[in-house]
């Protein structure tokens, strides 16, 4: 994974700063999705764009933005003209050209016109939510695109000449066999994207799937999921995609910097309803409601809810929780230096136990999860939280 670390250091020798924009519009709601989204209306989009402009003005931009990520919702659903307007707003606060600019798109709404607008604005990376190549499974997820649309969209994206292209896939879908999933991965590899994200279906509260789960219409099978994870890792490694996080794989030089920077506990500003920030010593998320977000902005406030101080100890804890999810792991020495008062003795004891049980590997300054440990990243994370919940002894 050294290419990722060094590349990031080159890109932001100082302190990288991310900019996330949440574009909350979706044509329909997918059964698995718990992200904030609403139906697009001409008026809604107008007000949203005005809101982003207002919100960006309320941020004190201390340094140039390194990476941009538009997520949603479906940013690719905006009209080409509106994509350009949003890009203008973003660019006016970036202080130069970001090294990476990702935009999420759905296959059904990819058009040469939209792609051209994005390319012209400086977007470098397209992330496309394919999810599956199997029509029956797509339907089961409530997705609105067909297999043919995926291929057409991918051709358009490639033709537009973006530096990096990602395909999102989902596995452990109800009724999906291990063979069907291997076929989906193979099909994605055949298209030769630069980056592949594979997501195990997660049952989030307030989704249609969660309802099915609680009604017993679908069942969880952790053993099956674990096998799918392992098969995926092997299959993608074989195909030349290096894993750099639980669900993310890239060809050399194509890891998503924006995400890496959030997992490394750098700083980012989130704009738009439900956008989350970690910036200038605090973290929090905007209210997940377009109208309320606009209302608060109208009063000249950022619409952040549950804003908390991002203390060094908190950041060290999260650097461990999220860092361990990455294959590069987490640099313990760096964090020890940044936050000497964290309960490192507890952390060391935990890591020693995890090492002994084959869940982690500590080599030099770096701690990372083994393959088995990576499948248990949440449990390890909860243990890290537990270790940090012990109050350090403060000398009187």
């Amino acid at each position: 994974m050294s290419h990722i670390a060094s590349e990031q250091d080159k890109a932001a020798p100082d302190r990288p700063l991310g900019l996330y924009v949440h574009v909350p519009f979706c044509a329909s709601t997918c059964d698995f999705c718990a992200f904030y989204q609403t139906k697009p209306t001409a008026d809604g989009v107008e007000r949203f764009l005005a809101g982003v402009a207002n919100e960006a003005r309320l941020v004190s931009w201390a340094r140039p933005v390194t990476t941009v990520f538009w997520g949603g919702g479906t940013p690719g659903l905006l009209a080409p003209r509106d994509l350009g307007r949003l890009a203008d707003i973003v660019r006016s606060h970036c202080g130069g050209a970001p090294v990476e600019w990702s935009v999420e798109m759905a296959p059904a709404s990819v058009t040469p016109q939209r792609l051209a607008a994005l390319k012209a604005a400086g977007v470098t990376r397209i992330s496309m939510g394919v999810q599956s190549f199997q029509p029956a499974l797509l339907e089961g997820l409530g997705r609105q695109h067909t297999r043919a649309q995926i291929y057409r969209a991918y051709e358009h994206v490639r033709a537009a000449g973006f530096a990096s292209v990602n395909l999102d896939l989902m596995f452990a879908l109800p009724g999906q066999t291990e063979t069907e999933w291997a076929d989906d991965v193979r099909e994605a590899v055949r298209l030769a994207p630069d980056h592949i994200s594979t997501y195990c279906l997660t049952f989030e509260e307030d989704t249609a799937l969660w309802v099915k789960l609680s009604q017993g219409r679908v069942k969880l099978d952790p053993e099956h999921e674990a096998r799918l994870y392992e098969a995926t890792w092997a299959q993608l490694r074989e195909a030349g995609y290096a894993q750099y996080e639980v669900s993310n794989f890239a060809r050399p030089g194509h890891a998503c910097l924006h995400n890496l920077n959030t997992w490394r506990m750098h700083e980012w500003v989130g704009l738009g309803p439900s956008g989350a920030s970690q910036y200038a010593g605090w973290r929090g998320a905007n209210v997940a409601d377009l109208d309320k977000w606009l209302e608060l902005l109208g009063r000249g406030e950022r619409a952040t809810e549950d804003r908390v101080a991002a203390t060094p100890a908190q950041l060290a804890e999260d650097a461990l929780i999220f860092g361990l999810r990455m294959n590069e792991g987490v640099n313990l020495a760096d964090w020890r230096a940044r936050c000497a008062e964290a309960p490192w003795a507890m952390v060391d004891a935990l890591l020693a136990r995890c090492n002994a049980e084959g869940l982690t590997l500590v080599e030099g300054d770096r701690a990372r999860l083994t393959d088995r440990g990576r499948l248990l990243a949440d449990s390890v994370g909860a243990e890290v939280m537990e270790a940090f919940s012990v109050q350090p002894v403060v000398p009187a």
Binding site: Y20, A276, D318, F322, L359, D378, A382
Partner: protein, 599 residues
Amino acid sequence: MPLTKYTRNFCIIAHVDHGKTTLSDRILEHTNTVAMRVMTDQHLDSMDLEKERGITIKSHPVTMTYRAKDGHDYKLNLMDTPGHVDFSYEVSRSLAACEGAVLLIDAAQGVEAQTVANAHLAFAQKLKVIPVINKIDLPSANLELCTRQLEDILSIPAEEAILASGKAGIGIEDILEAVVNRVPPPRWATYPQLRCLVFDSLYDSYRGCIAYVRVFSGTIKANDQMMLMSNGQKADVKEVGVFMPKMTKIASLGAGDVGYIVSSIKNTSDVKTGDTITLAARPATEMLPGYKEVRPMVFCGLYPLESDDYEKLKAALGRLRLNDAAFVYSSESSLALGFGFRCGFLGLLHMEIIQERIRREHDVDIISTYPSVIYHVIKHGGEKIDVDNPVNMPDPGTIEEIREPTIRASIILPNDSMGDILALIMEKRGVCEHTDTLDQNRVMLRCVLPLNEILVDFNDRLKSITHGYGSMDYELGDYIASDLVKMDIMINGDPVDAFSCIVHREKADAKGRQLCEKLAKIIPPQMFKVAIQAAIGGKIIARDNVREMRKDVTSKCYGGDISRKRKLLDKQKEGKKKMKQIGKVSIPPDAFIKVLQND
């Protein structure tokens, strides 16, 4: 002429389901003791549980008036006795309050284990036994067999048997006439001082302890000062009365009477069954015979399923204890189960009944640990200690010998189950000492078994092997030295107290393996390796591993929303706090309960 000439005190004894309660009801009806309009089925068994199980737990004496064929009015006191071996001391005290016993035999079932046990108790109290073959209207009634069994097994002349049916009201008059003519008038009536036998007691929240008594000699009335002869405790008599069957106040109780005494004593535990009440001013010099202190024989831990219910459980135990001096409890705490109580019972049925009453009448969900008996442990140097909780077993290195209680059981079973039952007895470390042929189809075994072996499933297996036809009764036997060991169950090396048990050395391996396997299966998959081991004095005899957790990872951690992910993990961490910590292992509290419940 003595006042007692027209008084008869008798009881009805029978095996479960042989129709005792129905017959009692017919007798009450016949003597117009209970007006027809208030007559509900099974008048004497008033507790729900008693009705449901067809057993009597509390005494329900009743005084009736019967005009016999000789033209005289007789005062008949019917004692409804507890009908189970757990309460054999209570039964013996109820019998001691009588001069006669009606022995019921189900015409279709014949003599059963409890029939024999109860008949022997009655003989031991020198009661006149009146055999009654009940349910003769059943198509499957076999009178010839019943009369032969009476003679062969109980040595009662067949011609003494009365044919009856409680259900159809047949033979009721004959039974009443037999009571009048065959049962002798009250004994020991001429003793110079007051002597009342306490055969039961009841707690009343307004009046305190109400003693149920049979007066043998003298008279007692309100404002007397009474004395309990076992300990010399004195109290003021506030009220005396009889059971009609409702408690009815009267001026005084005299020789031969059965009734109740309300005194200044508040707690039932101060008025012990079998004690003799006399007058403080002119005390008797000898107690009535047969008094002994009742000690619990079977122990277990009772814990609330919800720890919030601890106070509720405590209150429930307190209230049950008020009415049941034989039931004892003290608080204890368990690593695995939290705060609860160590409880002592007379026997298995007693334990079951108390647990059931806690659940039903007091609405507390409880879990019980493995039942245990009292072991006598002789240490090197001769010191002897009683151990009723495996946790208190001393270090094996200090023990010279462990002695365990036995029972002498009578088991009646169909011939064709003989092989399987003998195998069961052997499996339970029992010895069969005697075999009697009852009739063409049935035999009676007399055997000695360790009490701790019959605690869990002996009766159930007896019933299942014999397709419900087998029956057992037992009395306590001697303590015998046995090769017993304390087995601990450990999770990653830390013992789980609730699963410690005392077992015979030869059975330890199998039991250890079974427990380890069960726990390993029930404890949910763990992130770290968790070993479940069974150990005797530090030596591991069985082991299993909890399944390792395979997958617990959230796939997508995006949009920079760290807080959202933290909340998820926080939930997980908080969930862990609700678990029982055994060393470093977090185990859901219900895992232990499931293992105990699965038995």
